[in-house]
C-alpha cells in the first residue's frame, strides 16, 4: 500500500525574487510535469500547499510563490541548497495538443502569469507547435510585474502587451488600465484558429472572458485555471470541490464551457 | 386589638399601612412551584385577603388585605403548602397548622436552571431546596439565591450569599477540529480565556469563569463538562446606606463546601450580631468584623478541594449615599 501523501525532498537550485513578495524557486527533481499542473509543496512542521509549476525543464521545476501565509512566509526564507518537500504533479494542465497549429492568446492577471509561464518559455524554444502567441498581462503597479528578465527576451518572438492598473512610478513605459482594455483593443484575425487562456483572479477571469466573447471568440476555445483551497491534491479532502467537480482531479485547467457551469 | 408584632412578623406576616390588616408571605424555595398550590393561595386570597397576590422579587407570593384576627385560620389553610414544600424537602416545621415558624432568612430564590435553560450548569432549584433545608427556619436576616451560570439571571450578585454554577471544561484535543467556535465565543461573551495554538485550543484557567459556553459551542464534543463547581459571591445588597454588588469569595468549590460555608455563616452571625438592634443584616456584621474574621469563621472545616480558591481580600465598594455628591 503506497502512501499518496508521502513527499520527497527536492533541493533548491536557485531563488530569484520577482517582486518583493513573489520569488521563483527552482528545485532539482525529475518530476514529469505539464504546463498548468501543480504540486503539493511542504515544509515539515510548517505546512503544505498546492503551488502551480511555473516552468520546468530537464531535472528541474520552477515555482513562483507569493508570500501570503504561514507556509509561504517560511518558504521565502529558504535559500539555495535548502530543501522543500514536494509531491505530485497533480491535476490536468493545459491541452497543449489542442493548441498545435493555432494562434494562442494568453491573458494573465498578476500571479496568474505563473501557471502559463512554461507555455511561453517552451513556445520561445519552438517546441509547442503553437503557431503564434500573444501575451496580455496586467499587474497592479510596475513593481508587481513578474518575470521581467524573461519578458525582455520573449519580446523577440511574441507579441506582448503589459498594463498596470496604477503607474505609481511615473516612468512606466507600458500602458495603464485594466487588462480588459487590452483585449478590447485587440484585432483578432482568425477567430476559428485562435485559442485563449485566461488566468488570474476570479473577477479578472470573468470580465476578460466577456471581452473575448465580444470579439467573437467561442467559449469552447477559452481555457482558464482555477485556484482553490486544497489540502490533498488527490480528491479526498473536499476543499476544492465545486458542485460535483474536484478542481484537483478535473482541473485546475478547465475549458470555459465547463468552468461557467461551476457554481461555488 | 393586642397583637405581638414581633411574633406576627416571625410568622411571615407583615405589619402594613392599613391598621389591623396584614399580608402573608409564602415561600417558594427555588421559585419552582407545583401549580396545585395556586389553589391554596387563591383560597387564602379570596377567603381572607382582597383577592389579589403580589409576586415578590424573591419569587414568593404575598397575599395582602388579610385582617390580623384571621391569622390562625389562614395558617391552618396554608398547612398543605408548608407540608408539601417545606417538610417535603426535610425542613422541620414544629406545627403545620401554625404557619411559618420564621421569616428572617428570606426565600431562597433560583433561576430556572438546567431543567429548562441550556446555559445552566446546575439544577438551581434543587440546590435552592437543599439550602432551604439547611437554613430554614431561621430568624437571621439573610438573602440567598442560586443561579446556574455567570449570566446570573437570578441576580445572585444582589444577595448576601449568591451561588453561581460553574462547569469545569475538559478538553479532548483528539476531538477538536479547530473550528475556533469556542475561542471566538469566549472572547465575545465571556472572558477570552481560550486561545488557539498549533490548531488546538488552550484554556487559561485563571481567566476561565466556568460558564460552560465552550462546551455548548463545541460541535464535536471536544469540550465536555466534568463535575459541578460553584462560585460564591457575598454581601451584595441594596439598602439605604451602601448599595453594592456582591464580590467573589470562593470559586471552583464543590457543593459540600458551599453548604458548609452557609451553615458556618449562621454561626458567624450568632457570634457577632449586635443584639441591641431590632435586626442586623449579615452584610453590616461583615462591615463591622471585617472580611478576614468572616473568612476565617465561615471556612472552618471547609474542604476547598483541589481547584478551590478563596479571595485574599475583598473591597466591597459600592457607593455610600451620604458621601456621594454628584449634584454640585
Amino acid at each position: 500500500m503506497s502512501n499518496p501523501y508521502s513527499s520527497f525532498k527536492a533541493s533548491i537550485l536557485s531563488v530569484k525574487p520577482q517582486t518583493d513578495i513573489d520569488y521563483t524557486f527552482r528545485l532539482a527533481t525529475d518530476l514529469k510535469v505539464s504546463s498548468g499542473q501543480f504540486v503539493e509543496v511542504s515544509i515539515p512542521r510548517v505546512g503544505e500547499a498546492p503551488i502551480s509549476v511555473s516552468d520546468f525543464g530537464e531535472g528541474w521545476i520552477e515555482m513562483t510563490i507569493r508570500r501570503a501565509g504561514k507556509l509561504t512566509d517560511v518558504i521565502h526564507e529558504m535559500i539555495q541548497g535548502k530543501h522543500l518537500y514536494i509531491r505530485g504533479p497533480y491535476g490536468n494542465g493545459f491541452p497543449m495538443d489542442k493548441f498545435k497549429g493555432k494562434n494562442l492568446i494568453i491573458a494573465a492577471g498578476g500571479t496568474g502569469l505563473a501557471p502559463v509561464k512554461s507555455i511561453i518559455s517552451s513556445f520561445n524554444q519552438g517546441i509547442t507547435g503553437i503557431k503564434d502567441l500573444t501575451l496580455l498581462a496586467g499587474f497592479k503597479t510596475p513593481a508587481d510585474v513578474l518575470f521581467r528578465d524573461e519578458i525582455s527576451k520573449w519580446h523577440e518572438n511574441i507579441q506582448i502587451e503589459i498594463t498596470v492598473d496604477n503607474d505609481d512610478t511615473g516612468n512606466w513605459p507600458g500602458g495603464t488600465g485594466l487588462i480588459t482594455g487590452l483585449i478590447e483593443q485587440m484585432d483578432i484575425a482568425n477567430l476559428e484558429q485562435t485559442e485563449v487562456i485566461i488566468v488570474g483572479p476570479p473577477v479578472m477571469i470573468k470580465f476578460s472572458y466577456l471581452e473575448f466573447i465580444k470579439k467573437g471568440i467561442r467559449k469552447e476555445n477559452v481555457w482558464v485555471s482555477f485556484e482553490r483551497k486544497m489540502c490533498c491534491g488527490i480528491g479526498k479532502c473536499g476543499h476544492c470541490k465545486i458542485d460535483g467537480t474536484y478542481v484537483c482531479l478535473e482541473g485546475p485547467v478547465f475549458n470555459y464551457a465547463k468552468a461557467e457551469q461551476l457554481v461555488d | 386589638m393586642d397583637i405581638n408584632t414581633k411574633q406576627l412578623r416571625k410568622n411571615a406576616f407583615r405589619v402594613t399601612k392599613n391598621r389591623g390588616m396584614t399580608a402573608l408571605r409564602i415561600r417558594v424555595p427555588g421559585g419552582n412551584l407545583e401549580v396545585k398550590y395556586f389553589d391554596v393561595i387563591k383560597k387564602v386570597a379570596e377567603n381572607f385577603g382582597n383577592g389579589r397576590v403580589h409576586i415578590t422579587t424573591r419569587q414568593g407570593f404575598e397575599v395582602p388585605g388579610i385582617p390580623m384576627e384571621k391569622i390562625p385560620e389562614v395558617n391552618r389553610m396554608i398547612a398543605p403548602i408548608l407540608d408539601g414544600i417545606e417538610t417535603a424537602v426535610g425542613v422541620e416545621i414544629p406545627d403545620l397548622n401554625s404557619g411559618y415558624p420564621a421569616a428572617g432568612t428570606r426565600n431562597v430564590s433560583a433561576c430556572i436552571g438546567n431543567s429548562v435553560c441550556p446555559f445552566a450548569n446546575l439544577n438551581s432549584g434543587e440546590v435552592a431546596l437543599k439550602i432551604e433545608k439547611l437554613i430554614y427556619p431561621n430568624d437571621y436576616h439573610v438573602k440567598i439565591a442560586v443561579t446556574g451560570c455567570p449570566n446570573d439571571c437570578i441576580k445572585a450578585h444582589m444577595q448576601d450569599i449568591g451561588i453561581i454554577g460553574m462547569a469545569l471544561p475538559v478538553y479532548d484535543s483528539y476531538r477538536c477540529i479547530g473550528c475556533g467556535a469556542c475561542v471566538k465565543n469566549c472572547r465575545r461573551v465571556a472572558t477570552g480565556a481560550l486561545s488557539i495554538s498549533n490548531y488546538k485550543v488552550k484554556r487559561d484557567h485563571r481567566r476561565c469563569i466556568g460558564c460552560g459556553e465552550c462546551i455548548l459551542k463545541c460541535p464535536t464534543s471536544a469540550w465536555t463538562r466534568e463535575d459541578k463547581y460553584y462560585r460564591l459571591v457575598i454581601m451584595g445588597r441594596t439598602g439605604k446606606k451602601n448599595p453594592r454588588i456582591a464580590q467573589t469569595f470562593l470559586e471552583w468549590v464543590a457543593e459540600e463546601a458551599v453548604m458548609k460555608v452557609i451553615a458556618n455563616m449562621y454561626q458567624y452571625i450568632d457570634n457577632h450580631i449586635d443584639r441591641s438592634l431590632p435586626k442586623e443584616h449579615v452584610g453590616y456584621i461583615v462591615d463591622r468584623t471585617g472580611y478576614p474574621v468572616f473568612r476565617q469563621e465561615v471556612l472552618l472545616g471547609v474542604d476547598l478541594g483541589q481547584l478551590g480558591r478563596v479571595a485574599e481580600s475583598i473591597n466591597f465598594g459600592g457607593y455610600f449615599y451620604e458621601r456621594t455628591n454628584i449634584f454640585g
Partner: protein, 335 residues
C-alpha cells in the same frame, strides 16, 4: 447461520473473539452531553454487549472509528519523517443498517475518487467487520427508507435483541465462537420498511436550483457551526495541519483533522479570498453532495438518511425538509 444467545453467552462470544478484535459500539457517556446533567451517545470501545446503548441514536456516527477526527500522517524529526505504526487487531463495529451503508460511501471517496487510494483509511478499513444491530422502529428524524439504506445485506453478523435474548445471523469466519456459545436458531434479518420522515430525491437538479432564492433562507438561519457535518456518517472532508512540538521545535507532525464545508474558512485561500462565504450556498453545496453530485459520480446517493443532521442542528434546520423543497422545486423547474 442463525444462533441464539443469552446476554451472558453472547458476551462469551465477544470475549473469545476479543483476542483478535476491538469492538466499537454506541455507548452512553453519563454527564458528557453539552447541556449539564445530560449524556452523550458516541461510538467508543466496548468490552461487553451490556455497554452498548440500544435505546437512543448515537449523536456521532461510527465513521470516526475508521476516519479518526485527528489522525497523524507523519512524525517529523530533523532527519525526515516516519509514519505512525498501526496495530494489527481487527475492528468490529456494531451499528445500524444506515451506518453500515455509510462505510461504502466513505470507501468511494477515500479509495475510489481519483487515481490514488488513501492508505491511512485503507489500513483501518480493511480490518473492519460489521455487526448490524437490527432497527425495529428507527428513531426521530430517520429517513433511511427514502434513501434505500434501511437494508444492509453485506454484514458479518446481524443481531436482533429482544427482551434478554440475542439472535444472530453470522456469515463469517468468526463462526467457531458463535457455534461454541450459542444454540442453533432460525434467524432472518428484518429491516425497517417505513419511517415517519419521508424524503423525495430529485432525479435531475436543474442548474437554476443552484442559484435559486430558496437557499437565501439558510443564509439567514444557518450559523455555520458545522454540527450537521461532524455528525454525518458520510462527510469525509479534512484539513491538513502541520505542527511542531512546543518543547522541541525541530520535531513535529503532520496530521489531518475533520473539516466542514459549513464552517468559515473551508474555501478560503491564502491571501484571504473566500469562494463560498454565504451560508445558504454552503447549505446548497452540502445538500447537493449528499443527494446529487456524489450520485452522478458513483451511481447512488451519499446521504444514508440517519437524520443526525436534523437531530443536532441548534437552529432547527431540517436537512430532510430542505431536500423535499429541492425536489418540489425541481419538479416545478423541470415541468
Amino acid at each position: 447461520m442463525g444462533f441464539e444467545f443469552t446476554m451472558d453467552s453472547f458476551n462469551k462470544v465477544l470475549e473469545d473473539i476479543s483476542k483478535n478484535f476491538i469492538f466499537y459500539a454506541p455507548r452512553r457517556i453519563p454527564g458528557k452531553g453539552a447541556f449539564s446533567d445530560t449524556d452523550v451517545v458516541v461510538y467508543q470501545e466496548v468490552e461487553g454487549f451490556g455497554q452498548i446503548e440500544l435505546d437512543e441514536k448515537s449523536r456521532f456516527s461510527p465513521k470516526e472509528v475508521i476516519n479518526p477526527i485527528t489522525q497523524t500522517l507523519f512524525y517529523f524529526n530533523e532527519n525526515g519523517y516516519t509514519e505512525p505504526e498501526t496495530n494489527n487487531k481487527g475492528i468490529i463495529i456494531f451499528c445500524r443498517p444506515c451506518d453500515a451503508n455509510s462505510f461504502k460511501r466513505l470507501d468511494e471517496i477515500f479509495l475510489n475518487n481519483g487515481p490514488f487510494k488513501d492508505s491511512y483509511y485503507e489500513s483501518l478499513r480493511r480490518k473492519v467487520k460489521i455487526f448490524v444491530i437490527e432497527c425495529v422502529q428507527g428513531f426521530e428524524n430517520c429517513f433511511c427508507v427514502s434513501m434505500g439504506t434501511n437494508r444492509f445485506d453485506d454484514y458479518d453478523a446481524f443481531i436482533r435483541v429482544a427482551e434478554d435474548r440475542i439472535t444472530c445471523d453470522v456469515k463469517d469466519n468468526l463462526l467457531p465462537a458463535f457455534v461454541k456459545h450459542g444454540i442453533s436458531a432460525e434467524m432472518r434479518p428484518d429491516f425497517i420498511s417505513e419511517n415517519a420522515v419521508k424524503v423525495a430525491i430529485p432525479d435531475q437538479v436543474n442548474k437554476t436550483i443552484f442559484t435559486h432564492e430558496m437557499w437565501r433562507e439558510y443564509s439567514e438561519r444557518c450559523i455555520a457551526c458545522g454540527r450537521c457535518t461532524v455528525v454525518c456518517p458520510t462527510c469525509t472532508c479534512f484539513t491538513m495541519q502541520d505542527i511542531f512540538y512546543e518543547d522541541n521545535h525541530k520535531c513535529g507532525e503532520r496530521r489531518r483533522v475533520w473539516a466542514s464545508c459549513m464552517i468559515d474558512g473551508f474555501t478560503e485561500v491564502a491571501g484571504g479570498h473566500d469562494f463560498r462565504p454565504d451560508k445558504g450556498m454552503r447549505m446548497r453545496f452540502k445538500a447537493m453532495h449528499k443527494i446529487y453530485d456524489f450520485r452522478k459520480r458513483f451511481g447512488y446517493n451519499m446521504c444514508v438518511g440517519c437524520g443526525r443532521c436534523d437531530d443536532v442542528c441548534p437552529e432547527y434546520i431540517s436537512f430532510s425538509n430542505c431536500i423535499n423543497k429541492v425536489s418540489a422545486l425541481s419538479r416545478e423547474v423541470n415541468g
